[in-house]
């Protein structure tokens, strides 16, 4: 079977379980983002795929071959480290050609591949520069080119963009995604930045406490989060308590939401609704009535904070559909049932 199969991988350090029975299938050519807060085991998982850590149990299978017992240097992968780890004593060209040199490629072959890669990363003619003379973004690209020198089967990146400033980071995200699509290489990126994951990934894997909480395409993760942790970690969300009343209707904060159904047998649950799905209008019987506590006008978006019986609800609108509200006013909050996601406990 083509692609990467992570088969019930567990890693423990003493009593601490860093990665807990993780299963994941990554089809060939997929861009995967491992996303989670620090200490959730995402880097450990990546290092096990790279062979830099040995799994306590489980197997890693690449294109049908069990690579778990293979040492790192026989796995045919490219990796970009958080520190980039460019060799300080080598020039840009020699850094990129390192893997070819190890394999005894001829000088001409090395030069040809280096030129190819430098063109690919938009740094033609940089081969003879010392790495110390490069800017942050340039070093980043050289590290990527070096990892791709042998056209590896797997491309692994550990928080690759964390050292760059915000603007450059956004540009590199787009560039990295375009590069991956052009090469069609299976790519796994570790990040704690959900925006980065949303920008680049085909498949976002949200991890917490060493387990996979949800693995799905970015828009599905955003629209249909599996649990409260995922909903809260990806973007901003309203987590509201929902109950089934005696008449069998689903209510949120005491107001019935027609059309919102709870799973059979569940009477109490959390509901996630994104701020941009919350509509504000005149108070009325069909809407939840609340009081505006704060309005944050950011120019591009307007965030309105509404308090309903001690619970705060955030609504986001564009200037075009600016709600006619002011701090202290009573408003009616409408929650479209199709946008409400009932979360598993």
């Amino acid at each position: 079977m083509s692609g990467l199969d992570i088969n019930a991988i567990t890693k423990t350090f003493g009593n601490f379980i860093a990665v807990d029975n993780v299963r994941l299938n990554v089809p060939h050519g997929t861009f995967v983002c491992l996303l989670g807060p620090s200490g959730c085991g995402k880097t450990t998982l990546l290092r096990m795929i790279a062979g830099l850590e040995e799994p306590t149990s489980g197997a890693i299978v690449l294109d049908g071959e069990d690579i778990t017992p293979l040492p790192t240097h026989k796995r045919n992968l490219g990796m970009v480290f958080q520190s980039l780890a460019l060799f300080p004593h080598l020039s840009v060209g020699d850094n990129i050609a390192y893997a070819l040199r190890i394999r005894g490629a001829s000088k001409d072959e090395q030069k040809k591949r280096v030129d190819e890669l430098l063109t690919l990363i938009h740094l033609p003619g940089f081969a003879d520069r010392p790495v110390a003379k490069l800017s942050g973004g340039q070093r980043q690209r050289v590290a990527i080119a070096r990892a791709l020198a042998l056209s590896p089967k797997l491309f692994l990146l550990d928080e690759p963009l964390s050292a760059l400033d915000a603007k450059l980071r956004e540009a590199m995200q787009v560039e990295l995604r375009q590069l991956q699509q052009r090469l069609g290489i299976t790519t796994i990126v570790v990040t704690h930045d959900q925006r980065e994951a949303m920008t680049m990934a085909d498949l976002v894997v949200v991890m917490g406490n060493g387990r996979i909480l949800q693995a799905a395409p970015p828009i599905e993760i955003y629209r249909k989060p599996a649990d409260a942790f995922v909903a809260d970690f990806i973007g901003i969300t309203n987590l509201l308590p929902a109950e089934v009343d005696s008449a069998g209707r689903t209510t949120i904060l005491g107001t019935a939401i027609p059309g919102l159904a709870m799973p059979a047998g569940v009477t109490k649950a959390s509901v996630s609704i994104r701020p941009e799905d919350v509509h504000l209008g005149e108070p009325g019987s069909r809407a939840i009535t609340g009081q505006v506590t704060f309005v944050r006008d950011l120019g591009g978006t307007i965030e309105t904070f509404v308090e309903v019986g001690g619970t705060s609800i955030i609504a986001v609108a564009t200037p075009r559909e600016r709600p006619n509200v002011s701090v202290g006013a009573k408003v009616g909050v409408t929650l479209p049932p199709e946008s409400c996601v009932v979360l598993g406990s």
Binding site: A50, G51, L52, P71, T72, H73, K74, R75, N76, L77, G78, M79, F81, Q82, S83, A85, F87, P88, H89, L90, Y98, A99, I102, R103, R146, A147, A149, L150, L156
Partner: protein, 284 residues
């Protein structure tokens, strides 16, 4: 950092104390030595102020050239042995836990408290026929009968490497601790085996440190004058031994001083050459 050219005399005052120390403990004794090296020896007493080059002329014989060559060779060999042993050792040490590292470093520091005399006699016992290490080999069945391993060149080398090794490790340790471990991991993901990665990533990345350490151990070994006498034959004696002999036992201060000046000049030239070669290679 802001850098300004010092303007008034007051701006130079922080240099006063170190400058004074340098003059009192380096410039004055060294100048005295240079001056004495041109004085005339008085066989009846000490020396008389003069300006003669006899002391240097006497030096230009095959005997002293041989001793000088041997001293330099020995110092180079000690430096190379020390770095070859200390570099992998220190590298592996930095991979251990904090506790293990501290224990080893404390142990190494305690070796520094031993004087050259104690080190010399300890090794001479260890290499002796009656109580030496060969008795252990005989007991283990590796040898037929115990032999004396000294006085030999190997014994001199072993003693000097033992003496210089703690310094070597202590100089290499900070650089190796600071080395980014992902450099090695990066090399491994690019297809280098751990041993290969060590030699073409860790070693070149620390080239300047290694060169500096080699120079330090070389200079250190050049000054050793007790161990060659305790563990070696007269033909293993270094220039430092002869300098001591001339200055103290033969009362020929001017000749001893001339040899010392010559040794300093030769070692400076060698160190300069090494730095020059290093810089040229760096520029490539």
């Amino acid at each position: 950092m802001r850098r300004e050219v010092p303007k008034s005399f007051a701006d130079y005052t922080p240099l006063l104390f170190p400058g004074l120390m340098l003059v009192v403990f380096f410039v004055v004794p060294f100048s005295t030595m240079i001056a004495v090296s041109f004085f005339k020896r008085n066989p009846a007493g000490f020396y008389t102020p003069d300006f003669v080059v006899d002391n240097y002329a006497r030096f230009l014989t095959t005997f002293f050239a041989g001793v000088l060559g041997f001293s330099l060779m020995l110092a180079v060999l000690v430096a190379v042995c020390c770095v070859c042993i200390a570099f992998p050792f220190t590298y592996l040490l930095t991979k251990r836990s904090r506790r293990v590292q501290t224990l080893w470093l404390v142990g190494l520091l305690s070796v520094l408290s031993l004087s050259e005399v104690i080190i010399g006699f300890a090794w001479s016992t260890l290499f002796s026929q009656t109580a030496g290490i060969t008795n252990l080999f005989v007991a283990l069945g590796l040898m037929d009968k115990p032999v004396a391993l000294l006085p030999t060149f190997g014994a001199v080398l072993a003693g000097m490497v033992y003496q210089a090794l703690p310094y070597t490790i202590l100089v290499l340790y900070p650089a190796l601790v600071r080395l980014d471990p992902t450099l090695l991991e990066a090399a491994r993901t690019l297809g280098a085996s751990p041993v290969k990665a060590f030699f073409n990533v860790v070693t070149p990345a620390l080239r300047n440190t290694i060169v500096a350490t080699l120079i330090m151990v070389f200079v250190f070994a050049l000054g050793s004058y007790l161990l060659p006498q305790i563990l070696g034959r007269p033909r293993h004696w270094t220039l430092s031994v002869l300098i001591t002999d001339q200055a103290i036992y033969q009362s020929n201060m001017p000749f001893g001083a001339a040899m010392a000046v010559f040794l300093v000049l030769i070692s400076l030239a060698l160190v300069g050459l090494m730095l020059l070669v290093g810089r040229k290679e760096n520029a490539l």
